[in-house]
C-alpha cells in the first residue's frame, strides 16, 4: 500500500508541476532506506480525487457563451463549500471550447469561461489568491466526436486541485 501511494504521488507530481511539499502525513519516503527525494504530501491526492468524485469538478457552457447557467451554479456552490472546508487547497480553473469555432477566438472564449467560474467562486467567498485560470481553447477536448453530444461536454470549465497552500 505504501508503495502504491508513493507511486500515485509521483504521478501527481509529474502531472502537476506546481505541487509543493507539505508536512502532511505520508509525505516522503521516510524509513524506506532508499534514496528517494521527498515527495508532495499524499493528502492533496486524496483531496484531488475526492474533489472530482464527490464534489464535481466541471461546469458546462452553451455554444459561444461564457455565463454560468443556473443549474451549473449548483456545482460551483458545492465546490465553494468544499473549498471553504479545505481552506489550504489551491485550484486552477481550465477554460475549454468545442471545435465549432476558430482557434484564436476559442482561446479567448476559454479564458472567459475560466474567469466566469473564478468570479463566481470569488462571489461565494473563495479568496481570489487561491484560484488560477488557464485557457486551452479547443486544444484539449475531453469527448471525441463531431456531434453536439461531444461538443456539449467539451465546452467546459474544469476546477483542478493543484495543491495545498503553503
Amino acid at each position: 500500500m505504501r508503495f502504491k501511494v508513493l507511486g500515485m504521488v509521483a504521478a501527481l507530481a509529474l502531472a502537476v508541476s506546481a505541487c509543493e511539499s507539505t508536512s502532511g502525513s505520508g509525505a516522503g519516503a521516510s524509513g524506506s532506506g532508499q534514496s528517494i527525494t521527498p515527495l508532495p504530501a499524499a493528502a492533496p491526492l486524496a483531496l484531488k480525487d475526492q474533489f472530482v468524485v464527490d464534489v464535481g469538478d466541471r461546469v458546462f457552457f452553451a455554444f459561444d457563451r461564457f455565463d454560468v447557467e443556473q443549474d451549473q451554479k449548483k456545482v460551483l456552490d458545492v465546490q465553494a463549500a468544499w473549498l471553504k472546508k479545505y481552506s489550504s487547497v489551491t485550484v486552477t480553473i481550465e477554460g475549454h471550447a468545442d471545435e465549432r469555432g476558430t482557434r484564436e477566438y476559442n482561446l479567448a472564449l476559454g479564458e472567459r469561461r475560466a474567469n466566469a467560474v473564478k468570479e463566481y467562486l470569488i462571489y461565494l467567498g473563495i479568496d481570489a489568491k487561491r484560484i488560477k485560470t488557464v485557457s486551452y481553447g479547443e486544444e484539449r477536448p475531453v469527448a471525441l466526436g463531431s456531434d453536439e453530444t461531444a461538443w456539449s461536454q467539451n465546452r467546459r470549465g474544469v476546477t483542478v486541485v493543484t495543491g495545498p497552500g503553503s
Binding site: 502531472a15 508541476s17 459561444d64 461564457f66 471545435e99 465549432r100 469555432g101 476558430t102 482557434r103 484564436e104 477566438y105 482561446l107 479567448a108 472564449l109 479564458e111 472567459r112 475560466a114 474567469n115 466566469a116 473564478k118 468570479e119 485560470t133 488557464v134 485557457s135 486544444e139 484539449r140 477536448p141 471525441l144 466526436g145 463531431s146 461531444a150
Partner: protein, 465 residues
C-alpha cells in the same frame, strides 16, 4: 540548425556573367534585339483559366552529376508550374526533339506539332570551383522568340532552390505577377488522438509541434519536439524568425523562434495569456492579444525597445489582429457587436469600424500582401468557409466551404491562399484528419499540400531573399 543555403547564391541577370552574355548575343543574333515581347500571357485574375501547354525539357548536362541535376531541376519546375493550375506541362514522352539536341536553337516545328505553346530548355554544368551553373531559356513556340534567359551559380546541393527561382521567373514572365515557388511554409504538425504516436502527453494530446518545409512539401523538418503544445506560427517578413504561441510550463505565451539558431524566446513579461501574434510588415513589431481577467485586448510590442502599447479597450473579445501592408491599419476579430465580426482600426487603435456584415460569424482576418483584400474564416449554418473581401468590407467572395476549414495564409504575391481542413471526428477518435490545402484567389485549383503527418495553422513565408 540552419536550413538556409550556406553559400551565397548568385543570380545573374545576363549582363553580369561573360558566358551568359555570349549566349544572349547568340540569341540576339537570331534576329531579335533583347528580350522579345511575349505573345503568350496568362491573365491570372480570371477564373478557371485554360492552363498553358508548356514543354519543360530536361536541362542538359555533360557530366553525370550535371545531367542528374538537370533532370531533377526540370522535374521540380514542371511540378511547380503544374500545381499553379496556370500551366499544363506536356508529357515528355510526347517530345519529338530530344533534350540533347536542344544545345542549338529549338526546332519550333517539332514543339508546335505537340501543341506546346511555351518551351523551357536549360543547361547545367559543374564549373571548376565545384559550383553548379544552371541556365535556362523560355521560348514562345509560335513566335519563335525567347521570352527570358537567365543563368545562376550555386552549390550543387542547392539545385532545388534554383528550380524554384527559375519557376518564379517563368511564372512572372508569363503572368506579369511575382511568383511564389521560392518560399516555405511553417505549420503545426499533429496526430489524430487515435493514432499511436510519440511525443504526446496530457497537455499536448495531439502531439502538436512546429514544422517547416518548402512550399512543395520538400525539405520537411520539425522545429519543436512535441512535448509542449504550440499553436499559430507566423513568419517574420525578414524570414529568420517565427512568432507563435507555446504552452511551455503550462504558461500560454507568445514566443519567437529563430530558425537559424533554434533559439526560442518568450516575448515580453505579460500578466496573462498572450496569443494570436503576427509580425508588422517591417518585422519590427509584433501585434497580438493578451487575456487578463477573462478579457482579451490587442497590444503591439516594439521588438527593439520592448515598449508595449494597448490598442483596444473593450470588454468584448478582441483578437486575431493583422496589419495592412502599409502598416497604417489593423484588421481584427471582435464580438463587441454581439457576435464575431471583422473590424478595422488605425495603427493607434482609433477609428474602429466594422467591415463584415454578411450572415454568420467572421474570424481570422489576414490582410493580403498586396493590400487589396482581406482573407477570413466565416462560420455560417454550421459550416466553415474561407473567403476574401475588400478592406472596406465590400466584394465578399467565398472560395471554399467544409465542415471545418480555417486559418487562411497568403502567398507573397497575394494570388493563392493556404488554409487547413479538418474532417469530422468519430466517437472512437478515428477520423478528424487535418491537412493543408491551397486554393487560388479565383476559387479554382484547390489542392492538398502533402505533409508527413496531420497539419494545421499554416503560414506562408515571403519570397526567400
Amino acid at each position: 540548425m540552419t536550413i538556409r543555403p550556406m553559400i551565397a547564391f548568385k543570380k545573374s541577370t545576363g549582363l553580369l556573367v561573360a558566358p551568359l552574355v555570349a549566349l544572349l548575343a547568340f540569341a540576339a543574333a537570331l534576329g531579335d534585339a533583347g528580350p522579345a515581347r511575349a505573345e503568350i500571357t496568362i491573365d491570372i485574375t480570371r477564373g478557371n483559366v485554360e492552363p498553358l501547354p508548356i514543354a519543360v525539357t530536361d536541362f542538359v548536362g555533360k557530366s553525370g552529376a550535371a545531367a542528374r541535376a538537370g533532370r531533377d531541376i526540370a522535374g521540380v519546375i514542371a511540378a511547380n508550374l503544374e500545381r499553379s493550375g496556370l500551366f499544363k506541362p506536356i508529357d515528355r514522352k510526347a517530345f519529338i526533339q530530344s533534350s540533347g539536341a536542344l544545345n542549338a536553337l529549338p526546332r519550333f516545328g517539332d514543339w508546335r506539332v505537340i501543341n506546346a505553346q511555351a518551351l523551357v530548355q536549360g543547361r547545367t554544368e559543374v564549373v571548376s570551383d565545384g559550383r553548379l551553373r544552371v541556365e535556362f531559356r523560355l521560348w514562345d513556340v509560335f513566335s519563335e522568340q525567347q521570352m527570358i534567359g537567365l543563368a545562376y551559380f550555386t552549390v550543387p546541393d542547392n539545385w532545388r532552390r534554383v528550380a524554384h527561382i527559375i519557376s518564379d521567373a517563368i511564372y512572372k514572365r508569363v503572368t506579369g505577377e511575382e511568383g511564389y515557388f521560392d518560399t516555405r511554409i511553417v505549420y503545426v504538425a499533429e496526430q489524430p488522438k487515435s493514432a499511436k504516436g510519440v511525443g504526446r502527453n496530457r497537455l499536448n494530446p495531439f502531439g502538436k509541434r512546429l514544422a517547416i518545409m518548402d512550399q512543395d512539401g520538400e525539405n520537411h523538418r520539425f522545429l519543436t519536439d512535441g512535448t509542449t503544445l504550440v499553436l499559430t506560427p507566423r513568419f517574420s517578413p525578414t524570414l529568420q524568425e517565427i512568432t507563435y504561441m507555446s504552452y511551455f510550463r503550462n504558461n500560454p505565451r507568445v514566443y519567437i523562434f529563430n530558425i537559424d539558431t533554434g533559439r526560442q524566446e518568450v516575448l515580453g513579461d505579460f500578466p496573462g495569456m498572450t496569443f494570436a501574434p503576427r509580425f508588422s510588415p517591417d518585422g519590427k513589431k509584433i501585434i497580438m492579444s493578451m487575456a487578463k481577467d477573462g478579457n482579451s485586448e490587442i497590444y503591439v510590442m516594439d521588438l527593439r525597445t520592448r515598449v508595449v502599447r494597448q490598442l483596444t479597450f473593450h470588454s468584448a473579445i478582441d483578437t486575431s489582429p493583422s496589419f495592412s501592408p502599409d502598416a497604417d491599419h489593423i484588421v481584427f476579430n471582435s464580438d463587441r457587436g454581439g457576435s464575431q465580426q471583422l473590424y478595422v482600426m488605425d495603427d493607434r487603435g482609433k477609428n474602429v469600424r466594422r467591415i463584415s456584415f454578411g450572415n454568420g460569424r467572421y474570424a481570422t482576418p489576414v490582410w493580403s500582401p498586396r493590400g487589396d483584400l482581406i482573407a477570413f474564416t466565416k462560420l455560417s449554418g454550421g459550416r466553415f468557409f474561407i473567403g476574401v473581401m475588400k478592406p472596406d468590407g465590400s466584394g465578399e467572395r467565398l472560395l471554399a466551404e467544409d465542415f471545418k476549414i480555417e486559418g487562411p495564409t497568403w502567398a507573397p504575391n497575394g494570388r493563392v491562399l493556404i488554409f487547413y481542413r479538418k474532417g469530422q471526428t468519430n466517437r472512437d477518435g478515428s477520423g478528424g484528419q487535418s491537412k493543408l490545402w491551397s486554393i487560388d484567389l479565383t476559387g479554382h485549383n484547390e489542392r492538398e499540400i502533402p505533409t508527413p503527418m496531420d497539419a494545421s495553422d499554416p503560414a506562408w513565408s515571403p519570397l526567400i531573399p
